[in-house]
Subunit: 231 residues, 2 copies
DNA sequence: TGGATGGTTGGAACATTGTTCCATCCATGT
DNA sequence: ACATGGATGGAACAATGTTCCAACCATCCA
């Protein structure tokens, strides 16, 4: 065993990058709650103390993991033609990322001061600038887009937290939404008419479409305000 | 001591309502992290086990506390003239609630399936219906408004988590935003032009104005889409 | 009226977590 | 060869949510 450890030392040297990578593996495979320093230490065949030499604390680790994912999304989305397309590509990419790594949604919405969020803000901001929005309105428009994204990210993450890692997520998800809808249908029709109406559509609705519809809505509002202010 | 307890029994009988009330007191006075079952038990002069007789677990307790606050907001906001005004009143009320009880923001954004969120959805939904939005578009519009609200709620809550309960919040907040802005200004101008531009406005900006601006933006988008589809 | 009953209570005990501490290791430079 | 200090592994600590259980006491029945 000691020999094995010795042999591994060279190739297995601990590092922030390797730790973040392992954390992402655990998060992806077993969900948000599964990431503990003990599980991480076991996965890396070391002790928890050693991890703290490279990583300040759990918050930092989660922020680093999240940034790792978001950075790729933003880089890919940057290759678009019009500013509108880039924004929609970023939204699409973010959706894919959260779909593939549900914990990213929770982490993004929980901690808005982390670097990953700053990345999103810069990416969205530069495109909003390119759209010719007057400077004093840019902040509000970007915040609206960003908050909407983070808000929905949190919601999807909460949904995913309920059934962590299943083979046929689509099926499980639909069953779950069906159960929620059924519960909503039991509410008093006089007190909750709208929710009951939504319940009918809930199990069939497409998350991605909903996400992009929200983005388009905000962009449309932005344009209508621009037209209003221009002439 | 035993006599005292006996005497108190009658007036002090434990109940879900009294527990929720005490939880809100602790959350308001000492912040999100301060609510533990031990602190709660001490505050109620009982043991943690007794609390579990009335309350399933901490999630349930937090959801109940949140709903207690949100219910009042929605009831107050319902007294408005036009649907637009009601929506803005709800947003304003929600902002006040989060401003006064920052933990509400965190709780709302963390758990979208709790009853408080359903309340918000019903409240917003009925007004959107009243605005004459076509039924198949209602779901997306309401989700957009709701997600934006929850997203920004989470952000404000995260901000408040950094300085839990201070006498002059306004001062502390400004100092904190100033520190964030200063950090942002240190970023590479080539890589983060937009963030650096925002940093200049950050410490002075008005949260409430920003919140309502987002609502108006989405409402404007909704109207422009309506006009587009109608004629 | 007195004893049984079962809804409540209080607090000890447990499992799990993030984090700290420290004895030990080993590649490097002298 | 040997001292040094960056890295490591794992034990120990403090805090938390939750469970468990002995004791309590108002109520109901005999």
């Amino acid at each position: 065993m000691t020999a094995k450890i010795r042999a591994e030392r060279r190739t297995d040297a601990l590092s922030k990058a390797r730790i973040v990578e392992a954390a992402i593996e655990i998060l992806d495979k077993n969900g948000e709650d599964a990431l503990t320093f003990r599980a991480l230490a076991a996965h890396l065949e070391t002790g928890s103390g050693a991890i703290y030499w490279h990583v300040a604390d759990k918050d930092y680790l989660l922020a680093a993991a999240t940034d790792h994912i978001v950075a790729r999304v933003m880089a890919d989305a940057a290759r678009g033609s019009s500013p509108r397309d880039v924004i929609r590509a970023m939204a699409n990419g973010l959706f894919d990322a959260i779909d593939g790594h549900p914990w990213v949604g929770g982490q993004l919405s929980r901690n808005p001061w982390q670097y990953a969020v700053l990345r999103l803000m810069e990416g969205i901001g530069s495109q909003v600038q390119a759209l010719g929005v007057p400077e004093r309105a840019q902040f509000n428009v970007v915040t609206a887009l960003l908050s909407f994204m983070l808000g929905l990210a949190g919601q999807y993450a909460a949904g995913a937290r309920l059934f962590p890692r299943d083979a046929d997520r689509a099926e499980v998800r639909k069953a779950h939404l069906g159960a929620v809808a059924a519960k909503w249908m039991e509410l008093d029709p006089a007190e909750h008419p709208f929710v009951r109406q939504v319940a009918k559509v809930l199990p069939e609705h497409d998350d991605r479409e909903q996400f992009l519809a929200g983005i388009d809505l905000i962009l449309a509002g932005m344009e209508s305000i621009q037209k209003l202010g221009a002439p």
